[in-house]
Symmetry: D2
Subunit: 434 residues, 4 copies
Amino acid sequence: MKEGIKIVTIGGGSSYTPELIEGFIKRYDELPVKELWLVDIEKGREKLEIVSNLARRMVKKANIDMKIYSTLDRREALKDADFVTTQFRVGQLDARIKDEKIPLSHGLIGQETNGAGGLFKALRTIPVILDIIKDIQELCSDAWLINFTNPAGIVSEAVFRYTNFKRYIGLCNVPIGMKNNLAKLLEVDPSRIDMDFAGLNHMVYGLNVKLDGEDITGESIVKYIEGNITMKNIKDIEFNKEFIKALGVIPCPYHRYYYKSADMLKSELEEFKEGTIRGQVVKKLEEELFELYKDETLDIKPPQLEKRGGAYYSDAACNLINSIYNNKKDIQVVNTLNNGAISDFKDDEVVEVSCVITKEGPRPISMGYLPTAISGLVRQIKSFELLAAKAAVTGDYDTAYLALCINPLTSSDDVAKIVFDELIDAHSEYLIKK
Amino acid sequence: MKEGIKIVTIGGGSSYTPELIEGFIKRYDELPVKELWLVDIEKGREKLEIVSNLARRMVKKANIDMKIYSTLDRREALKDADFVTTQFRVGQLDARIKDEKIPLSHGLIGQETNGAGGLFKALRTIPVILDIIKDIQELCSDAWLINFTNPAGIVSEAVFRYTNFKRYIGLCNVPIGMKNNLAKLLEVDPSRIDMDFAGLNHMVYGLNVKLDGEDITGESIVKYIEGNITMKNIKDIEFNKEFIKALGVIPCPYHRYYYKSADMLKSELEEFKEGTIRGQVVKKLEEELFELYKDETLDIKPPQLEKRGGAYYSDAACNLINSIYNNKKDIQVVNTLNNGAISDFKDDEVVEVSCVITKEGPRPISMGYLPTAISGLVRQIKSFELLAAKAAVTGDYDTAYLALCINPLTSSDDVAKIVFDELIDAHSEYLIKK
Amino acid sequence: MKEGIKIVTIGGGSSYTPELIEGFIKRYDELPVKELWLVDIEKGREKLEIVSNLARRMVKKANIDMKIYSTLDRREALKDADFVTTQFRVGQLDARIKDEKIPLSHGLIGQETNGAGGLFKALRTIPVILDIIKDIQELCSDAWLINFTNPAGIVSEAVFRYTNFKRYIGLCNVPIGMKNNLAKLLEVDPSRIDMDFAGLNHMVYGLNVKLDGEDITGESIVKYIEGNITMKNIKDIEFNKEFIKALGVIPCPYHRYYYKSADMLKSELEEFKEGTIRGQVVKKLEEELFELYKDETLDIKPPQLEKRGGAYYSDAACNLINSIYNNKKDIQVVNTLNNGAISDFKDDEVVEVSCVITKEGPRPISMGYLPTAISGLVRQIKSFELLAAKAAVTGDYDTAYLALCINPLTSSDDVAKIVFDELIDAHSEYLIKK
Amino acid sequence: MKEGIKIVTIGGGSSYTPELIEGFIKRYDELPVKELWLVDIEKGREKLEIVSNLARRMVKKANIDMKIYSTLDRREALKDADFVTTQFRVGQLDARIKDEKIPLSHGLIGQETNGAGGLFKALRTIPVILDIIKDIQELCSDAWLINFTNPAGIVSEAVFRYTNFKRYIGLCNVPIGMKNNLAKLLEVDPSRIDMDFAGLNHMVYGLNVKLDGEDITGESIVKYIEGNITMKNIKDIEFNKEFIKALGVIPCPYHRYYYKSADMLKSELEEFKEGTIRGQVVKKLEEELFELYKDETLDIKPPQLEKRGGAYYSDAACNLINSIYNNKKDIQVVNTLNNGAISDFKDDEVVEVSCVITKEGPRPISMGYLPTAISGLVRQIKSFELLAAKAAVTGDYDTAYLALCINPLTSSDDVAKIVFDELIDAHSEYLIKK
């Protein structure tokens, strides 16, 4: 590999970017990023400038030789890149707010990456990702694409199924967050914990927890339920303790939408009435963050960023890039082709699973069959993901509506039709035509 | 095989029995049933007598040499039987009414074979079936057990997984009903229709419809939706046409509980308020039927029986017994070991699938993978069935509660706990202790 | 379907054709073949005329309305055909003799459809079959192609893997011969025997033998070994009785090449020395047959044809066509996509297996996993078939040589290279170039 | 874990033991073995004493606190052990010589771990291993059993299939030898090479070779063939270069018996005539080695041991124990349950595959499907292994003979019977009776 690393971050104007910068600065010795290109679109020009300037101040303070570029010209940025990360939102937060409000207005859960909202986010996002991949294949075909853009599971399925690009990894901060939060509850350093993760994006389970190599799964589950871990994005309604004990594995925060759908819906409907649904809250937080970022004396990641929900985002992305670059062969959790790892899935389906990370990409660890109690739900979500990916790539809205009808958060095919039609209207500028 | 056939019907006092009698009478030439033993328990003594007497009058009128026995001594009846059929209800209709009311009282669907109701019906029924199998293995080990007792899917899973008895077939009148109703809508004789059935009990789909061997699936789906076929048991709320067209296969009537759960719940809650839930309706119908049956001039199956919901019950059971007896090798739909038939399921899981019926039992036809849109839901229900069967056999109520929590009709683990505890209480006399 | 059936037989000048004619005559009432087109190539012009004239005399004697056409113009013949059968030999018997002699000259088994000979027959045949399929797709896309041309297993794999033509069935007279011969040994009518066939072409096993529906597998195996059933093509060296009893299934005649490879090789080497290898014997038989066929007083299938080795050829082909035409849904053994039927194979691999025959083609019966003792060998042959099919389609001779090296009849990669190079030379006019 | 490690080596009198001692000495800092118990049987008493004394001198020279015990009382030794290693030979070298001579005398390959010889080694060895496991489960149930005793593949299959002992690992020095030898040919340090191993014991392939993380598979194959790597045990007849290039993976030395069976047989028959078959050679080598070991001035592993064939034996065993003890999570190649790792095998079959080594044992890395060209042969050997393991556990000699008949090194079921009967006679004292 050539001297120094060139990284391109698409959606560089994101409020999360300072997380990334901090991560690269911390790892500079073993991961010498010489060029970091922040790319955004015209609508994000102002945010891009604010973030880029903050990034430059952070790098300067760290006194390292990393050059920050900002540009609206994606193709210029991609040329000869080593790693590309993506973290954009087609239609910005306004689109997210629609994804939340429209289902809720008809009594369905409105959520960014699950149910109707997740479907439409996929329909808007996947065509853009496929365009980026075309550019990568032309301009930097040896680069790795690390995709953080949600819904990461469906996006990953679309990439592996409908392109011939292999150097793609779907990444999410949920597993690393679960592990780190569990370590906190157990009051031990996360490095002493080994655990398996298996399932799908935003539908991943933690299994076989070990402390210094010894199994502590049972007590971990108890601690985890008592700790009631969630994420900033997700209301912290408690799982039923007896249920999770019987389940025998650790659910992820998003599982609340499935195992407690009535409770979550009720809570969301209250927020909807009060005008405090997540998209609205985030929009306000973002505005506050960007006010902070503008401060020319700020030269570190501001602590307020944590409220935004991106905990461990930096660790997830930077550790992955580091392990690829240095062929570390450590274990991380990513979205990649199943290739036999989880026996419940076909070899060519995408899963989120613990992998050995090598210079040639992730190598899943064999999990065998999942416990019976969780196998069915992940298979159902995979059916949804497969149809959603197909609809996003083909622009076939019959398939998209079918995907919505079979989603477990949909409780009526008729209501689904109304919600579907309204979302099609609301997002029409971002949807491809068949 | 010895001269003449001996059949034992457990739950012989059922109001459905005249269906069976009529079926055997019609087929007497090729299926010479010489002895039909109707068995029931003490609580059903009166009904058993009424039904047996009607059966005797029917046989007499048909002028055939079939002897009707009625007894409360199951073991006496089983001796050297050729076929055993089961059609009983542990706890009678009162138990069913509890299975419906208790979930409804907490806002969950209350249904005989689905959700919480189905789970508790399994918990009550499976221990009795396993007892019957022990008797069969001792007293008539070459007999075939044709089980009509619901929830037939979970019962079948329990039998194949937890006993070494192989001559078991789970049977349901749903597929034959779907095919016959479709033929009516198409205005053709059912014998001209071939179609595949694949899935699980009360969760079976019709695929690849052919008329005189030529594919007519597309137009069949349209006719089927327009015809809005249901069963007496299930409210005839219409499926969304665009949804089913996109689905590309024919759902069974019970799929309404999954694809229209909110609509079905709403409708059930109204019936609950009005005191007209299905169990209550059936109880009244049964009383009326038995009044009819008592009439000593009645010597045929009374037409009113059709309202009860057992359409094609007789055809399903008698055709199956006939094809086994005569090694007919025709195609019928039964619950049996998957053995590779549906690639979405493991070889040792029970499925409901089109089979060639031979003297040595059903041989499934290979279906390959199910369409993506239906694969996930059937896998989820199979997870539920596996846990329900395990709980019923072991008496482990943590597993039973876990089964309820992962059932797609459950929308809250906490509400599920309340419903579960109430049902445990309500049915305690019929539940085994670990 | 239009009035009357049009059948096209490619390789119509084959000595087997009178078998086919006899079959169609016998079944004329339910299978009214109005036109039978016999097609051959220039080199076969004389034989084609002889056979066509015999066919016309047979039809005349039978006094039915079936018109026999003979032509060298394949495309003219195919127009609007209902069924196409193929039974040709690229390079005629001289090519077969090379396939036998060249391996033998280096100490390897030389056989028409197995080992090096089978590989080169595949390399010569598959390109022609793919050409025929292109013509069918253009001229009679609703026709069924019934392929009898060997090596039928590899040809079938090539068709399903490398074309999008679905109305293809690979057919062989081995299974029907095994069943009929077993019935003879048991002294019962074949119609009373049911048995499963599963495996690959010329590597198929008989399992679960039933007489009038009752299992008689054990005694059938004993009878079968004692009867030492073989085919005209294959030296009747006896299987070891204790081996086959332990195996628990009935091998096909060709299994001698695998379970007794040393014995078969020894026997072949003797024939090689004596100039009586099978190709040479057949060539002489064929000449005698055609002398008979020329006799203008002959108007039936001459009994001498049976020595040629095509016993039950007619029954296999005509029964299959009959069941498709009349949507009979009886069980026959064909080469088709596995689709889950045999759990040891992938869904998209071709197997030879018992199927329900419908108007829309064969539907395999689920066999589950094969017995351990036979699973490995069939998998090994499938590996060979997959590489052979790929080599035949692509013209990649590295892949062809690889196929030969992994074939179990090859005992040295170096000897294989010599044999391979000589066969490439010997058949160069019939091999495609990459 | 308690302070210091206790290791028990069954078959401690083996000439290989000094390899182990050296390995433990080298790793003492991170793997503090405090007690090493060498166990043997009465027949091995003298060798055990010689080896134990050498071990004591080696430890003394190394100046570490490791106590060497030698005993004939296995149960005394096992008490509270942390690791048990096995490296014994039931019937000693005389049994091996019979395993080689008897097949050769009838024209079949006679080899220690393959074909007839491997089968009988399995039949003698497995009952002893199962006895040891019973002792372990009673006396040190948390210990790991690292089995080096051949045929390691069949032994491992028997342990996982027929016991409930989970802390078993089958180990072989072939993969580590292949990697180290390849590194020598490439003139790089082995630590810079990553490669996958997948297959079965003594039938393992090397795939996806990487140098510093970059793929070099193609050039590695060329180097490997040119280098003609073998083992001391196996005649170095060259693979055909064009074959291996087309194969696309690196075969193990034992593959010569399959891809070059005629050549290997010829070579073995010559040795047989000359009285230099491997067992005879090894016997002489062993005698020489023990003469050396007796030398009281010897306090290191003598270099002559390498001729014996155990290269990397020490590294394989000690690295594995070290990684378990220290939860290293590095990648090593072992025999363990497939659990989905290689899609060609069932989850409950044993494979030899690259694994992440943790304190709780090996975790296979997902390999997906093997290349077509190698899939069939490994499946065939697995069929043999499954039957051999079953025969060894049950003492059913019909199954054992069946295993021999389906082994690819058997070329005649009749010859196999003669060989089988002679081997049964020859080894009768070591074989269990049903």
